[in-house]
Structures are given as C-alpha cells and as structure tokens.
C-alpha cells in the first residue's frame, strides 16, 4: 500500500503510523455541556472510547514518522484500501493557520 504524502509524495505505507478515526471531536465543556456533569462524562467517554467500525469511506489520521513527521488526514476506503485524498492535518507545519487538536 502506498500513501501520497502532500509534502513528500508517494511513499510506502511502512513509513506511516496509523492513529485511527479523525472524526471524533474533543468535547468543549463551555459550549457543549456547561450545566450537566453527566453530559460531560458521556461526551468524554464517547470521545475517548467509542469508535465506529466503518466499512467504506473513512477519514483517518496518519503520521508520516518515516518521512516529514507531519500529521495527515486521509480519506480511505476501508474495504478497498483506496485513498481518495491525503491532506495535512490542522497544525501540521507551524505556518499553517489551522487549529491543532481537531
């Protein structure tokens, strides 16, 4: 399997580490659940532990540790292993304006 790093070009997948689903958002207590401790607990549990076992297109984090050491977000089909896109994760490259920790 080869992955096209937006910085380095196409490389063998052995240069990359897989983190998993890029969709879960860290709960923002002030906005999401300012009043209820139970809601906070549920949201944190979901964020830390619950993952969908997707058969199909999935957004996921990959780390190019064997290359440019950037965090990437890939859209990959988990059934066919086809990569539809690979882009820099927010915060990859200090100059990019995106917020880290999406």
């Amino acid at each position: 399997m080869r992955i096209a790093c937006p910085f380095c070009g196409e490389r063998d997948s052995s240069e990359f580490s897989y983190l998993g689903d890029a969709s879960p958002k860290r709960p923002n207590f002030a906005v999401d659940s300012p009043n209820s401790p139970a809601e906070i607990e549920d949201a944190v549990f979901d964020y830390v532990y619950l993952r969908a076992n997707v058969a199909g297109d999935m957004r996921e984090y990959w780390y190019h540790g064997g290359g440019c050491r950037s965090w990437l977000i890939a859209e990959r089909n988990t059934v066919t292993h086809e990569f539809k896109s690979v882009t820099a994760a927010p915060g990859a490259g200090a100059a990019l304006a995106g917020q880290a920790g999406e």
Binding site: F7, C8, G9, R11, D12, S14, E15, G65, G66, G67, C68, R69, S70, A88, A92, G93, A94, A95, L96, A97
Partner: protein, 209 residues
C-alpha cells in the same frame, strides 16, 4: 573545578575499514565516504513565522530555504528541506560559530536544534551507486525524478534518513545521506553489504576544505 575537553569521535570508528572491498580488483562500482567535521542545525519555523524564517535565512545565506523536498546550496551552507516549515542547515564544522550565527539570525522566529554530533553524514557515489541504493532505499532515484538538488526525508533500514543529491567535480551523482549517529554503525554495514557485489571503496573525508 576540573577542566573537561571533549573530543569528537566518529561513530563509524569500528565499522569503517578504509580501502577496497568486495568484488573485482579494478575501479570500485560504489564509493562510500563518511563526511567528518560537519556542522548541522535543524531549523523549525514557529507558528506563523515561516515567511519571517525564510526571509532571515535569505539574509544570512543569500538563498531562501526550500519549501518542497529540495536541497539548495548557498556559499556557506547547504539548506535541506526536512518537513513542512523546517530545514537542515549543513556546513563545514567551525567550532561554535555556525550555531551562534543561526541562533542570532532566527531568535524568536524559529526553534533550532544542533545536530552536528547527532547525525552522521555519508556520501554514496560511483557508477553502481544507484544499484546498491535500490536494495535499501525505496525512493525513485532516476535522473528525471531525483536530479541534482532533489531531497527527501525517508526511512532506510527502519530508521529515518535525509537524502539529497549533489554532484562531484566531474558532474557524477553523489547521494548525500544524513542518518542518526547511533544507527550509523548498523547502516554503514548494511550499505557496505549492498555495495560489495559491485566493488566498494570505503573511506572518509572532511567537510572542512
């Protein structure tokens, strides 16, 4: 207070056996050199400071650092792309002078890390250099894909390496490798093994002319 004097030792002092090894007796197909006496600094732009870092580098070196996997040669240093908004500045060793100059230039806009003794620099050249490298490096090193000035951060033998291509006086390809010092002994053996069937000429050179 006792005075300490630090003596730099080559990480290859055991692995590197100077001379002609492997197949044949004539000219070696692969020439492998450790490059000693280097100064190497990792420069990483801080958030939002990439443009300022490039500008400061241009003022110091006379060239802008590469923004894609390339190596650019300036008068006093070679700047090698090593990731988004970061590069390695490679120069002949000059005491603490090189680092001090960079620390001054990039104060407040980029983070520096002195890698002069953290990395080991190698040169691979010769008519069969690419055949030997094909055994351990997954990069496409064809002239049209990886010409002089091309660079890459990649994994070689399970460890990270910076690779870039330059040319010798005769215009022949020289592949420059920067590998972690602590892995260089093992990598040297692996590269030598890959080169033996083409005839290997092993040795070392100094970056200081």
């Amino acid at each position: 207070m006792p005075d300490f004097t630090w003596e730099t030792q080559s990480p290859l002092r055991k692995a590197l056996v100077v001379g002609r090894h492997g197949a044949g007796t004539g000219a070696a197909g692969v020439t492998l050199r450790e490059v000693r006496d280097i100064a190497l600094v990792q420069v990483m732009a801080r958030r939002g400071q990439a443009a300022a870092t490039a500008k400061a580098a241009k003022k110091l070196f006379g060239v802008e650092p590469p923004t894609s996997p390339k190596a650019v040669t300036a008068k006093t240093a070679t700047l090698i792309w090593s990731g988004a908004d970061q590069f390695l500045a490679f120069a002949p060793h000059s005491g603490d002078e090189f680092y001090a100059k960079l620390a001054d230039t990039f104060a407040g806009i980029a983070s520096l890390s002195d890698q002069s003794d953290g990395r080991c620099a190698l040169h691979i050249s010769g008519p069969r250099a690419r055949d030997a490298m094909a055994k351990f490096c997954a990069l496409d090193l064809h002239d049209t894909v990886f010409p002089v000035g091309a660079a890459a951060s990649t994994a070689i033998d399970h460890t990270n390496a910076s690779v870039w291509r330059s040319a010798d006086e005769a215009g022949e390809a020289v592949y420059n490798l920067l590998v972690f010092t602590s892995f260089s002994d093992s990598l040297w053996h692996m590269i030598a093994d890959a080169a033996l069937e083409y005839g290997l000429d092993a040795g070392h050179v100094s970056a200081v002319q």
